[in-house]
Amino acid sequence: MARPTLGVFKFASCDGCQLSLLDAEDELLAIAGEIHIANFVEASREVVEGPYDLSLVEGSITTAHDAERIHDVREQSKFLVTIGACATSGGIQALRNFANVEEYTSIVYAHPEYISTLATSTAIADHVPVDFELRGCPINKHQLIEVVGAFLDRRTPAVPTFSVCVECKRRGTTCIMVADGIPCMGPITQAGCGAICPAYDRGCYGCFGPMESPNVGALAEWWGQLGVGRRDLVDALRTFNANAPAFREASEVLLQSVAGPTTGRDSRRS
């Protein structure tokens, strides 16, 4: 039987998630033995035509051209896995969704008229059907290997959707929110990173996006008691997964409760 083929595709992103594949130093050559890396521009000049048995898609949709291109990628992909916060929720660049893009463009670029972009940054699944989503900003390379391995073996990948707290406790970290009063997003964030931040004495900042049943309101309430202001709470929800529905909606609710019905960062500036 021919080796299955792998395609790696990039949209708006930092490249970190696809780099995770090259960062799998111990497994890379073995993976390349089991799966034919047919299209991975970051690593190889060789581009084998699709269709691809497995496609890894990094990045979010931010331009009209990319909104078209993702359909081509979907058509060429038998099993499409989105990797990383950009691809699964729109990434940090989705902060534009809460603001005025023209204003943004004029802040960064001297000639905004040269730039063509959409007003939003959106997840791949908002455009085409996705077979599996791997979270994280960046993804965890062990999880990536697990997903590729599970795909090859036709097994369900062990990628749990429960909270970071479960991993935090499994590794024996003392809860920093309880023991140090440090605000932590672990309880509402999906596991997968290995609960790194609390192990380094800092609160989780939610880079794996919302867990399976996030009770953002209840955590926000508690953070309030720890002395976190509303605006900081909104900022905490609006980082790398700002556009994930659970975080987006909660941040909007919080904003409304502080600034009335207006939305967007301008209202917070006043």
Partner: protein, 364 residues
Amino acid sequence: MGRDGVDRLISILEDRGFTVMGPTVRDGAIVHGPLRSTGDLPIGLRDEQGPGTYRLFERGDDALFGYVVGPSSPKMNFHPAETVLWKGSSDLTRADPAPEPPRFAFIGVRACELAAIAIQDRVFLGSGAVDRIYASNRSGSFMVAVNCVEPGATCFCASMDTGPRARTGYDLAMTEVIGDGIHHFVVEAGSDIGAEVLTELGARLAAADEIETAERLVGEAAGKMGRSLDTVGIKELLYAAAEDPYWEEIAARCLTCANCTMVCPTCFCSTVEDRGELANGSAERVRKWDSCFNFEFSLVHGGPHRVSPASRYRQWMTHKLASWYDQFDTSGCVGCGRCITWCPVGIDITAEAAAFRARGGDRA
């Protein structure tokens, strides 16, 4: 005996081939870690606990055991968070070696922890099948209990009838007496090997008044519990409350983060993950702690049985305080208070139990 006696105890246990574990300070909390001498103990520290909060403070004396339980428990060693269940090749020939029993000695185990261990013994050793990982870790372990004289704000072992005095399950039990220029430990043996070690320790016989003081301190501790839980008819109460809308009120606060189940010394649930390098013809099955708060826990084809946070909290609390009696003929809660302290938003099982009791009263 004095502090030097505890040091002697540690070295005797080491000499007998035990891995000696006990309370140590790590990352701002008292957790179980390897002990080489009393210097590794949290000397002169006390913990202040409350719903969702835990802080360490200086006591102002040299007490070795002047605190209560922290986030960890011997469960982490007996029923590890992650362990390989089976490893083998495609013809299912087993490749993982039989486990080497590690032989742990735990110093400073509290009565509630002994009660919790007794419960897990029942789960893994005493209800039909024997779990070989638990059995291996647990077998030959040596328990040095410390009777609690200063219970914490989230403790309620007295109402669960598991403490503050260690009653069974220990090899040695000590009571630390400190104050008025006195600092010593009154020790008693609870098993043959315990008696042997006690003899080897060569401690002098405690005087009657010393024993009396120790007894009195422990006795008084029962009245100093920060919390209590009324267990009378609790099973029937919770079964009857299965459809009480109050579960929704708790669910509004509950994060379903699973912390309570992770820290609970009796919670035993686990899941299995399959890992493999099938191309190389090898695979392993890894057991990891799981929780009834996780979706996948109740997943069947078509979706999880327990989707709403309310149903998941209900499962947890009802299991602890009610169905555990049906399953194992004991409460699943030993009153250690960990789930109260380590709930990131301070949900309190004693308060919720009281709330159901109040509502049950209304219903009746």
